[in-house]
């Protein structure tokens, strides 16, 4: 039945191609880019900040209902880049998992444990033919009592790493190049610097200056440890600080 061409199904389900690749997983990565949105995450000394574009395609849409930033628990947030429907499905399951963890073990699910759970779920979809991989890259952020500020990125292949800074989406590579230069000497950014680096990275890579309503910003800080999205006023303050600085 199959010769060197792998019977032609290697592009439809997650089986190996003759070169040892998983085409469905690679296509899932393309789906992440197809959303046309770029996201950035930066970890400072004792805070983490994630930023993403808020593209509202229709003026009649209720802007406040468009979001890619989801709290999983009070202390852990998730920024999903890619297909929003897949994102909602993952967030629903992650919230369930984190709540069960808290109930079963009596303490909050740590960020890295949640990130690993998400990544392991993604791996199952790359190995079992009955479910396709999800078309999202998830950035998970939180403040861990032992390891301080944490930023993890999980992708459709099931990889997950901790990051000092990272990016996902359409201009992922440009953003990573920008961030590598900024983080080269392992700077320990303060909260304000962290947020401003994240926002200015997005502005630089997309080559446009944003209005406060065009981006979403999520943060976790050592002071209060809760994950929250910044209000439009707070975003405005940071944007002003960036433009005055330049």
């Amino acid at each position: 039945m199959s010769r060197g061409t792998g019977a032609g199904y290697d592009r439809h389900i997650t089986i190996f191609s003759p070169e040892g690749r998983l085409y469905q997983v690679e296509y899932a990565f393309k789906a992440v880019k197809s959303a046309g949105v770029t996201s950035i995450g930066v970890r400072g000394k004792d805070s983490v900040c994630v930023v993403t574009q808020k593209k509202v395609p229709d003026k009649l849409l209720d802007q406040t209902s468009v979001t890619h930033l989801f709290p999983i628990t009070k202390y852990v947030g998730l920024l999903a880049t890619g297909l929003t429907a897949d994102a909602r499905s993952l967030v629903y399951q992650a919230r369930n998992e984190a709540a069960e963890f808290r109930f079963k073990w009596g303490y909050e699910m740590p960020v890295d444990v949640l990130a690993k759970w998400i990544a392991d779920k993604a791996q199952v979809y790359t190995q079992h033919a009955y479910m396709r991989p999800l078309g999202i890259v998830a950035m998970v952020l939180g403040y861990d009592e032992e390891k301080n500020a944490q930023l993890f990125k999980c992708d459709p292949a099931g990889h997950f790493f901790g990051h000092k800074a990272t990016s996902a989406g359409l201009k992922e590579q440009e953003a990573i190049n920008f961030l590598e230069k900024k983080m080269k000497d392992d700077p320990q950014f303060t909260y304000e610097e962290t947020v401003q680096i994240a926002i200015s990275a997005l502005q630089s890579v997309l080559q446009e200056d944003f209005k406060a309503t065009e981006i979403e910003v999520g943060i976790v800080r050592k002071e209060d440890r809760v994950f929250r999205a910044l209000t439009t006023e707070e975003i405005e303050q940071h944007l002003t600080a960036i433009s005055e600085r330049d």
Binding site: R3, P18, E19, G158, T166
Partner: protein
């Protein structure tokens, strides 16, 4: 282990008698980062390349070499996510053995059970083989041991072995320099 919606195996024989999915899995392993292991008179060493995709990655969050029990460790070449699944399953199997026999699992037993899992995924419905080869290193009552397990589920005991990129150079080096114990 397979999925009921897919009651047929995705890994099937080609006319020449090959299981091509397994061959492709081996190709995936062969393009992974190099790892190797050497058995000595009084121990075993395993090592691997840890090249991260960017300086932005927090290297303390990545652990390619994992322990399965106190005296058995494992390293891989190939797909990291598949490796995590096998580590989890093997650790559970080691614990189940201890619960049943009140003895720590011998290296050969753990290797056999891990290999059996990998073989299942080459035959069950709706799943693909694992895209990793494992080097399992352990020390038990039979002394130091080193096993390599492939995506097909076949395993061999080695005095020294390598996997991943540049495996032929690595093996040539090991063959020349290995002093029999």
């Amino acid at each position: 282990m397979g999925d009921s919606q897919y009651s047929f195996s995705l890994t099937t024989f080609s006319p020449s008698g090959k299981l091509v999915q397994i061959e492709h899995a081996l190709t995936a392993v062969g393009s992974g980062q190099t790892s190797l292991g050497i058995k000595a008179a009084n121990g075993v060493v395993i090592a691997t390349e840890k090249k991260l995709p960017s300086i932005l990655v927090d290297e303390t969050s990545v652990q390619k070499i994992q322990s399965l029990t106190l005296n058995i460790g494992v390293v891989y070449s190939g797909m990291g996510p598949d490796f995590r699944v096998l580590v989890r399953k093997s650790r559970k199997q080691a614990q189940q053995y201890y619960r049943l026999y009140k003895e720590t699992i011998p290296v050969t037993q753990l290797v056999q059970e891990t290999a059996a899992v990998m073989q299942e995924f080459t035959q069950s419905g709706g799943v693909r083989p694992f895209g990793v080869s494992l080097l399992i290193a352990g020390y038990d009552d039979n002394g130091p041991q080193l096993y390599q397990v492939d995506p097909s589920g076949s395993y061999f005991s080695w005095k020294a072995s390598a996997m991943g990129k540049n495996v032929s150079n690595a093996k040539t080096f090991l063959e020349k320099r290995y002093i029999a114990i």
